[in-house]
């Protein structure tokens, strides 16, 4: 493992950059546990202070330190995005691989479900859930709901690859090696669809975090737990952009961009790592 990372870092500029950016993110998340302020406490500090030596990223109009808010918000958002991505990846992998491999009736049933989920308009559904669940609409619930909405397109993508994998003769070879379906799916086909999974993970996180922000901006989430969306929500509620409190908005945006650049660079270089052909391409040059 270590040597792989070392090799990648040595040879792959993208990986190195991604790793560094990711380290920044992880650093911020770790640091969040050492915040001197309660994450939800307001009016502890003088409001609207621009970034300076004391408040590195300034303070909000609610008297919070932007830096420490940001670390906690990043942590919550990241866990949210990872949670949604993780659960929805699992669903889409299971559905996509099984449907593609099993074919026949299993495929048809799974795809009917898949397509129905895919066509349902997500945004009104989320708001409806918000109204229906009210107080039970916790972050965990939101993660689960988002995850169960966010898998279908990717499952279809995975299925289409799985179908072609099924006809490849290495699948026959695996069958005659006595591997079980689970094993074939997990060990033979999974690595083949991993690049898709990586690529879609990032898209999924962009989608879920974007959705979180949209819901937050419209006031459809828990407003106490700091997240990226919540920071923007409060900044917006205080007309931060128009009143020149730009650091309140710029900070979360910058961090989100860093997060996704890191994810993007990592997923890109990992894809290349995953595919031995393109990995070899960059050697010797």
């Amino acid at each position: 493992m270590f040597t792989i990372v070392r090799d990648l870092a040595r040879q792959n500029m993208e990986f190195l950059c991604g790793l560094l950016l990711f380290a920044v993110i992880v650093g911020l998340v770790v640091v969040s546990y050492f915040s001197p302020y309660g994450a939800t406490d307001i009016y502890l500090l003088p409001p609207d202070m621009p970034p300076d030596g004391e408040y590195w990223l300034g303070t909000t109009s609610r008297g919070q330190d932007v830096f420490w808010q940001l670390t906690t918000a990043l942590r919550n958002t990241l866990f949210f995005g990872i949670g949604v991505a993780f659960i929805s990846r699992i669903i889409s992998l299971v559905v996509g691989l099984v449907a593609g491999y099993a074919g026949g009736a299993v495929d048809r049933v799974l795809m009917a479900i898949n397509d129905s989920v895919m066509v349902i308009p997500q945004f009104p559904l989320l708001i409806l859930f918000y109204f229906v669940l009210k107080d039970s609409m916790t972050w965990t619930a939101l993660i689960l709901i988002m995850a169960s909405l966010g898998w279908s397109y990717d499952a279809r993508l995975i299925r289409s690859v799985a179908i072609s994998l099924k006809t490849r003769s290495f699948t026959t070879q695996s069958v005659y090696s006595g591997m079980s379906m689970r094993k074939i799916l997990v060990e033979e086909h999974l690595p083949y669809v991993l690049p898709i999974v990586f690529a879609t993970t990032m898209n999924n996180m962009i989608w879920s975090i974007g959705m979180e922000i949209t819901l937050s901006v419209l006031g459809f989430t828990d407003i106490e737990t700091p997240t990226m969306g919540m920071m923007i929500y409060w900044a917006n509620a205080h007309s931060a952009l128009i009143s020149g409190i730009w650091w309140w908005v710029a900070a979360p945006v910058a961090v989100i961009v860093v997060l996704f650049l890191a994810l993007f660079l990592l997923s890109m270089s990992m894809n290349e790592y995953n595919d031995p052909r393109s990995r070899l391409n960059r050697m010797g040059s």
Binding site: T3, I4, D7, Q11, L280, R282, M283, G284, S285
Partner: protein, 329 residues
């Protein structure tokens, strides 16, 4: 002899750096040969002995991890002299297809799957022909007919053709500009024997007509016997023997060639053929000295110590074996 291609001391290695392990595969290791104008030169040898690598290197189709470590490939197209590695990329590009065409291994799968075949001809050849579009298509049609391909097939997609047809299409594509030099890697593999015979005789015909030189690789000795003027035998990245076809089959000199020729089954002859003992050398760690010596029935002391040089034993005939040439050379 009027040389068209001269290859001197060519070394081409694959370098792979994986999981922290550095691996160097010496797929072409110090090969020199010359191909004359109008000659069909066949390369035979074991699987993974470096045949593909050799002709890739000659064709200048080098992509990482393959690297040319040393050596020189010189063409004499249009009476000039072109050093393929010293050339500017755009000049090398200008050679392609006009003077030199290369049919890759797996030639049934090299056509763009989403475009009609006609477009492939336009892409590859139209630029060079300097004729009008309709005349161009006419010429293509005539050319296809020569290969017993229906010109209507130009409007088909590659997947609509059988493997044999696709291979013939590729051959047609490679020969349409009557290049001086055609390189082909296993052009008839996986073809029906009947189809294969047709394809081969056509290649031969076209080559004779155009007077092109033809370098091709196959490990099917029957094909060599049918098509080649001269055969080079590659073993583990080295050229071990080179001879006119008849001489090679009738009187192979190198022990590996002897084995190769001797092991060929023939219908009507059911005598047991020996299989070669041992296993092909690992090109990442080839044996010292003669690379064949661990499997050689005639091996001598010196074979494991010194690399036998390729010695011209008679005109047009070279061999690299101490048992034949003696160790004094």
């Amino acid at each position: 002899m009027d040389p068209l291609v001269e290859i001197e001391n060519l070394k081409a290695y694959y370098r792979a750096f994986l999981y922290g392990v550095d691996r160097e595969v010496r797929a072409v290791d110090d090969i020199s040969l010359t191909i004359a104008r109008g000659e069909v030169y066949g390369v035979a040898g074991e699987s993974s002995s470096g045949k593909t690598t050799l002709i890739k290197t000659i064709a200048g189709a080098i992509r990482p991890p393959l690297r040319v470590v040393s050596g020189k490939v010189t063409f004499h197209f249009d009476g000039g002299t072109q050093d393929i590695y010293a050339m500017k990329p755009e000049d090398r590009l200008a050679l392609r297809w006009k003077h030199l065409s290369y049919i890759m291994q797996g030639s049934m799968n090299v056509l763009n799957p989403v475009r009609r075949i006609r477009h492939s001809f336009t892409d590859f050849a139209f630029r060079h022909m300097k004729v009008g579009k309709s005349e161009f298509l006419e010429r293509v049609a005539t050319h296809l007919q020569r290969l017993k391909l229906d010109p209507h097939l130009l409007d088909a997609y590659p997947h609509e053709l059988s493997g044999g047809m696709r291979q013939r299409m590729t051959i047609a594509l490679a020969t349409i500009l009557t290049p001086e030099f055609i390189i082909a890697d296993e052009p008839t593999t996986a073809l029906d024997v009947i189809v294969q015979r047709d394809v081969l005789s056509m290649i031969r015909e076209i080559q004779r007509e155009m007077g092109s030189s033809f370098l091709f690789v196959t490990h099917d000795m029957g094909v060599h016997a049918t098509v080649s003027d001269r055969i080079g035998i590659v073993y583990a990245g080295r050229l071990v023997e080179e001879a006119p076809t008849a001489k090679l089959f009738n009187m192979p000199l190198h022990p590996y060639t002897q084995h190769l020729v001797g092991s060929l089954p023939r219908i009507g002859d059911a005598t047991a053929r020996p299989s070669l003992e041992g296993r092909p050398p690992n090109l990442a760690m080839p044996p010292e000295g003669c690379r064949f010596h661990p499997r050689c029935p005639k091996r001598m002391e010196i074979c494991s110590q010194k690399v036998p040089p390729l010695v011209t034993v008679e005109p047009q005939r070279r061999v690299a074996c101490f048992a034949v040439t003696g160790d004094q050379v």
